[in-house]
Structures are given as structure tokens and as C-alpha cells.
């Protein structure tokens, strides 16, 4: 059964990698639309569709891995789940509109809406994850408004936003921002310490247990930032790998508890008969995606036509 939750973590990591990069794109489009639009747009189309599907894949992967948890998820997180779904609907719609009825002011307006929708999704998702881990804003199977407006959640959101921007700058090789990316990444990582330190005692334990992986992760980022600084193209793909590994490391550190340690995920695992097939199917889909995504990206970007 270890295999099952490991696969679930991989799916989560892949989703977050794509989403964080998209979050960075959304921020950059608001920061410097005219300067970056062409470059960022050519990435985001058609990857936004894959990111959205990955969100559902993760939700389903979680449902098949921990079906008994769905009662709590459905009841407690009903409002954030719908807010996210609602803004995904807007994000998809505005991206499609900008692609086909764009041009000039309309395109700018639609992409602004896309960016704002994506940032709202990021904020609600971060808040939900923060509460699911820390229990802040949760009591008696209910959420109160403090689940979104608390200093831990806000610092987590800002830190992820800065990391997302830094990663996007590196990935898209935005030369004029070469120092900014280092600064953003450094502040983002520094800020990340605040929610992590406050979240829950069990996470501190995880950090102690996996300190060497955390150090390796930071060193890896430093190497990527240096490569980016010296204009090495490899920095772009490596930053994606770093995001993927970092999210996976985060999963490793916080597993197997949720809600401040009140929930032990092991108690909610699916029955072994179903789990066996769920694990295989999830792994096969994931493997096929890992193979097909780079092919798709290479193919589409190499042969982009003005569709």
C-alpha cells in the first residue's frame, strides 16, 4: 500500500509543478503584459488544458487512495472546492476566448481575467492545503473564514507566488529579470519557513528526519539559479524538475498526517483489493503522461502555427 500513496504524491507533485508554473505565468502577465505576452502565451497554450485535467486526476487519485476521507473532504471543504471549480471554469473560458476572439484590447482583457482567476485559484488552493495540514480555521467539521485569512496561509501564498515567479522567469528564460529571480526565490523560500514552522509539530519531525533531502533540494535550486544566471538553457527544464522534487519532498515530510495530526491517512487507505488495481491504473496513466507531455510540448512549440 506504500506504493499507492507514493503514486498519489507523484500525481500531486506533477499537478503542483504545472500549476505553480501557470501561477507564475499569471503573475508575470499582470506584471509585464506587453513585454512577456507572446512568450508566455505560447507556453500556456495548450498546457492549461493538461493542468486542469491533472487537477481532476489528483482529486480522483486521492479519492481512490483514501475513499473514506471523501466524507470529510466533501463536507468540510465544500466551499473552497466549489470556489476553485468556479474559477477554473472562468480560467478555461477566458483562455479559450483569448485564443480565438482575442486581438488587441480583447486579448489583453481576457488574459487579465485568466491571470486573476488563476491567482484566486492559487490562493484558495494554498488556503485549503494549509488548513488541511495545520487545522487552522477548522473546528468540528466546519471551516470558518480564518481558514483563508491567517498569517500562516498568507505567508505560504506569498512564498509560493514568489517561487512561482522565480521559476517562471527561469523556465521562460526572461533575461531582463535575471537578478530578480534569485531575489524572489530567496524571499519565497525564506517566507516558506514561517508557515512550515507554525503548521504542526509532526512536520517539524519530518523536517528533522529528512534534513539532508531538504539541504540537497536547496543546493539544487542554487545550482539551477546559477545556471540560469549564466544563460544556460538547461536551467529551464531543471527548474521544472526542482519544483516536482520539492513538492514531492513536501509530501514526504508531512505524510501521513492531516489536520494538525488529528487524521492519520493510513487509517483511511482503500481496501487492498481495490487499491491494487487503483495503484496500477494510476501508475500507468502517470507514466504515459510523463512520456507524452514532453513530446507534446516539443511538438507543439516547434510547430506552432497561428491557430
Amino acid at each position: 500500500m506504500d506504493f499507492l500513496y507514493a503514486i498519489n504524491h507523484l500525481v500531486f507533485s506533477a499537478f503542483m509543478t504545472l500549476f505553480i508554473l501557470e501561477f507564475g505565468v499569471a503573475c508575470l502577465l499582470l506584471i509585464d503584459y506587453d513585454g512577456l505576452k507572446d512568450k508566455l502565451r505560447s507556453y500556456i497554450n495548450p498546457i492549461w488544458g493538461i493542468t486542469g485535467t491533472f487537477a481532476v486526476f489528483y482529486l480522483l487519485s486521492t479519492a481512490v487512495t483514501y475513499p473514506a476521507l471523501m466524507g470529510i473532504v466533501g463536507n468540510v471543504f465544500i466551499v473552497p472546492l466549489f470556489v476553485v471549480a468556479f474559477f477554473i471554469l472562468l480560467r478555461n473560458a477566458f483562455m479559450a476566448y483569448s485564443e480565438y476572439i482575442g486581438g488587441g484590447k480583447n486579448e489583453k482583457l481576457y488574459l487579465r481575467f485568466f491571470s486573476i482567476s488563476t491567482i484566486v485559484i492559487a490562493f484558495v488552493l494554498m488556503s485549503t492545503f494549509a488548513t488541511a495540514i495545520s487545522e487552522v480555521g477548522y473546528s468540528n467539521l466546519q471551516l470558518d473564514l480564518s481558514f483563508m485569512a491567517n498569517p500562516y496561509n498568507i505567508s505560504l501564498f506569498i512564498s509560493i507566488a514568489l517561487i512561482a515567479i522565480a521559476a517562471s522567469v527561469l523556465y521562460f528564460d526572461i533575461r531582463k529579470s535575471e537578478k530578480f529571480e534569485l531575489l524572489a526565490a530567496a524571499i519565497g523560500l525564506a517566507l516558506l519557513i514561517i508557515p512550515t514552522a507554525v503548521f504542526a509539530g509532526y512536520m517539524r519531525q519530518g523536517i528533522v528526519s529528512y534534513w539532508y533531502l531538504i539541504v540537497a533540494d536547496i543546493v539544487f535550486l542554487a545550482v539551477i539559479a546559477t545556471l540560469g544566471y549564466f544563460d544556460k538553457k538547461i536551467a529551464g527544464p531543471l527548474v521544472m524538475l526542482w519544483l516536482f522534487l520539492s513538492v514531492n519532498l513536501f509530501c514526504l515530510v508531512q505524510y501521513p498526517y492531516l489536520l494538525g495530526g488529528k487524521i492519520n491517512l493510513v487509517d483511511y487507505l482503500v481496501n487492498p483489493a481495490t487499491g491494487f488495481y487503483d495503484g496500477i491504473v494510476t501508475a500507468v496513466i502517470f507514466a504515459l503522461l510523463v512520456v507524452s507531455l514532453p513530446i507534446l510540448m516539443k511538438f507543439v512549440y516547434a510547430n506552432r502555427r497561428g491557430y
Binding site: 497554450n45 471523501m70 465544500i78 483489493a273
Partner: protein, 443 residues
């Protein structure tokens, strides 16, 4: 305080009613696009490539909105029916997981197909990219329908033990792929999806032909595309009728309450007449036309055959009796659409050019609209007919529902969103095509 279950039902019902229209478009359009490109390559006629290119733009927009709408439905399943998801997650969610795999297949190859249009030197290689899109779209529908079949005829666990103790045992997660109603439902849903999706496109094309100047290239473009859409619909309607009859026969054996409510049978009887029309008023069926023995013959193959009646079951498990007129509507629409295709076929035999006859184009427009009504009626009959169960004989809708008051504002907001997004999507499609004059592309 409102009853949240009413809002749970309203939201999922409304969302699915909208989503299935987007879904059938997403299932049928890839076949039309693929067929058009294939004919274009074989004949060397550029018009067919233009058809494939232009309709694929609509496909992308429907895919984008359909993806978001599907995501919303997925979230609704988790949030509105948490107890249902707990049970399904242990027994039958493998289908939905595989559905995501099919969906990825569709998304990846659709991106290659659309964005890589000009990069394939071998046009057959480009055309081949449409095949995984077709498989992905159809496969998704197949997997979701398997879950629906599980809801109608649950399998894969010890039901008696679950009802007695509330614990799941004897779990076989593969049983969901071959349950008693699985393949009957899958075949019916797929055939109706291809039929309805292609008919919607056909209706649009007929409308454009009615507005276009005869003998112009634009007219020819729409005529060629209409031929493809109608050919797909014609093949699909044959399967729709065949699989529809199979569905009713299977229902007779597997969901007798649903069958009895559909046929307005209050008591079990042999020599049962087929009731055309009729409404239950004060417990009796009124305003109907009976066809003697017909129902027994259709259901059992013999006039002596006995059909089930609702009186054999506790009234608390009766489906809403409104499904009888809806079932009648479905059958009448099915016959009407069958008649439309028979007429087109006869005209083909007589004149060979029925699509140049303006009344036929008007009829195509009407038939496309009726096909949507048929789809919705069929879906409502299936879902309402299972009430009060969410999983037949195992879990009621009330047992599965989310009782949070948060559901109330969420339902209102999301229904408003659907009401805005769908017409706006159509508006966007219009703008897209207005911005790409067909005359210019056909030059």
C-alpha cells in the same frame, strides 16, 4: 432554513443536463472532423480540409468549456454526495480513474492535432492523430457510463452484508466493468452521443445552408459537411434504436420499479397493454390510448407474458410517475427522428439530392433541436427512474447527500454561472467564425 438535499439534487441535475450536451458535442465532433479530413486526403478536395479545420476550432472551444464543466461535475460528486463517494471509492471508482486516462489521451492528441496541423508532411499521419482523440472521447463516455450502470445495478461487493452491517466485504473492483447493465448502457449512451452530437452539428450546417447563396462555394462547403454529419447520425440512429430496445428489455429484468413507472404499470399483469400518453390523477391513469397486449409482447415476446407493477413494491421506493410521459416523449421523438431519416433516404433514392430541398434543410434544423430534447428526456428518465436510490437497492439519495447549508448559495451561484457561460460560449463561437470569413478560407 432550506432543505439542502433539494439543492444537492437541483445542482447535480442542472449541471449534468448542461454537461451532457457539451459532452456529446465533444464525442461526435472528432468523428466529423476526422471523416472530413480523411475524405479530403482521399479526394484531394480542399473543401474537406477546410471543413475539418473550421469544425476543429469549435471542438477546441467545446473541449475547453466541457473540461471545466466536467471538472465542476466531478467536484459536485465529491461535495454533494460524500457518502456515495465513500462507497464508490472502495468499489467502483476505477472506472472514473480510467476515464481520466482517456481524457488525457484526448487532450494530448487534440493539442497535437490542432497545433501541429501544418507540421505533418504525410497528411495521413496528421489524420491519424484524430483517432486517439476519437478513442479518448468515446472511452471517457464509456467509463462514466460504467459508473452509472453500477448505480443502476450495483455489483462488486457483498450487498446483503453491507445492508445488514454497513461494512463492505467481498470487494471485486473489476466487477464494475461487466455488471448486468454495463454493456447495455454503454452501447446505448455511445450511440445516442454520436447521434445527438452529429445532429446538433447537422442542424447548424442546415441553418447555414438556408442562409447561403445557392451554388456558391460557401453553400457547397456546408452541403459537404452536412452530408458527413447526417451520415454519422444515420448510422448512429440505427444503433440507438437497437440499443434502446435492449435497454428497456434489460430494465424489465433488472430494475422492475423503473420499468413499471416508465410504462405506467400500477399492478403486475399479463396481456398488458402499451399505454400511450396518460397521467396519474388521484391514483389512476387517465387520458391514455391503450394498445392491447403490446407491452407484454414487447417485454416478454408473448401476449401472455407478465409485466411488473408498482404495487408489488413499497410506495417509498416508487420512482416519480412523471417518467411515464417523459418516456412517451422519448419514444415519440425517436419515431419522429427515425421518420426524418427514412424520408431523407427515400428522397436520396428518388432524387439523389435531398439536401438541396429547402424543406429538408428546415426539417434537419428541427430534427437537430429534437435530438437534444430526446437526449435530455432519455437522461431524465434514466436518472429519475432510479429514484429514490442513488445506488439501486443499496443507498438512497437522502443517505448520500450533503446536508450543509453552504449548498444553497453554491447551487444558486453555479446555476447562474451555467446560464451565463453556455450562451456566452455560443456567442464566442459565433465571434470566432465571424472573425474567420469562410469565403476567405475557401479561396
Amino acid at each position: 432554513m432550506f432543505d439542502p438535499v433539494i439543492f444537492d439534487r437541483a445542482l447535480i441535475g442542472f449541471s449534468l443536463a448542461v454537461h451532457i450536451i457539451l459532452a456529446v458535442m465533444g464525442i461526435a465532433i472528432p468523428v466529423i472532423v476526422s471523416a472530413a479530413e480523411f475524405i479530403g486526403i482521399r479526394t484531394g478536395n480542399q473543401i474537406y480540409e477546410t471543413i475539418a479545420k473550421r469544425i476543429s476550432v469549435a471542438l477546441v472551444i467545446f473541449f475547453a468549456v466541457g473540461t471545466a464543466s466536467g471538472m465542476l461535475v466531478a467536484v459536485e460528486l465529491f461535495a454533494l454526495w460524500p457518502s456515495f463517494m465513500v462507497l464508490v471509492g472502495q468499489v467502483a471508482l476505477l472506472t472514473v480513474l480510467i476515464e481520466v486516462g482517456f481524457f488525457f489521451l484526448e487532450a494530448v492528441f487534440l493539442a497535437i492535432y490542432i497545433y501541429g496541423w501544418d507540421s505533418f508532411k504525410n497528411r495521413y499521419a496528421h489524420w491519424a492523430m484524430s483517432i486517439p482523440v476519437i478513442i479518448g472521447a468515446g472511452g471517457s463516455a464509456m467509463m462514466i457510463t460504467m459508473l452509472n450502470a453500477f448505480m443502476n445495478t450495483p455489483v462488486g461487493f457483498n450487498i446483503q452484508n453491507y445492508l445488514a452491517t454497513g461494512t463492505l466485504s467481498g470487494i471485486n473492483p473489476l466487477a464494475v466493468f461487466n455488471g448486468p447493465s454495463t454493456w447495455v448502457e454503454v452501447s446505448h449512451v455511445l450511440s445516442t452521443s454520436y447521434f445527438t452530437g452529429a445532429m446538433i452539428v447537422a442542424a447548424y450546417l442546415a441553418y447555414r445552408m438556408l442562409r447561403a447563396k445557392r451554388d456558391s462555394k460557401v453553400y457547397e462547403y456546408h452541403a459537404k459537411a452536412l452530408r458527413i454529419a447526417l451520415a454519422i447520425s444515420a448510422i448512429a440512429i440505427i444503433f440507438t434504436i437497437y440499443t434502446g430496445i435492449n435497454s428497456i428489455t434489460a430494465m424489465y429484468a433488472q430494475q422492475p420499479e423503473k420499468y413499471a413507472a416508465m410504462e405506467a404499470d400500477l399492478i403486475p399483469q399479463s396481456h398488458a397493454p402499451e399505454y400511450i400518453g396518460g397521467l396519474y390523477i388521484n391514483g389512476t391513469l387517465q387520458y391514455y390510448i391503450p394498445i392491447p397486449d403490446m407491452q407484454s409482447v414487447l417485454a416478454t415476446g408473448s401476449p401472455n407474458g407478465t409485466v411488473p407493477g408498482l404495487s408489488s413494491y413499497p410506495q417509498s421506493t416508487w420512482p416519480p410517475l412523471i417518467i411515464h410521459p417523459l418516456f412517451d416523449l422519448m419514444v415519440i421523438l425517436g419515431f419522429a427522428l427515425g421518420g426524418f431519416f427514412a424520408l431523407v433516404a427515400i428522397l436520396y433514392l428518388l432524387r439523389r439530392t435531398p439536401l438541396k430541398v429547402r424543406p429538408i434543410l428546415w426539417l434537419t434544423l428541427v430534427a437537430g433541436s429534437l435530438s437534444v430534447l430526446l437526449l435530455e428526456a432519455g437522461w431524465i428518465v434514466d436518472e429519475l427512474g432510479r429514484q429514490p436510490w442513488i445506488i439501486y437497492g443499496v443507498m438512497t439519495v437522502n443517505q448520500a447527500a450533503n446536508y450543509s447549508q453552504s449548498v444553497v448559495p453554491i447551487t444558486i451561484v453555479l446555476m447562474a454561472v451555467y446560464i451565463i457561460v453556455v450562451p456566452f460560449t455560443l456567442y464566442v463561437l459565433k465571434k470566432v467564425f465571424d472573425g474567420r470569413p469562410l469565403e476567405k478560407e475557401l479561396r
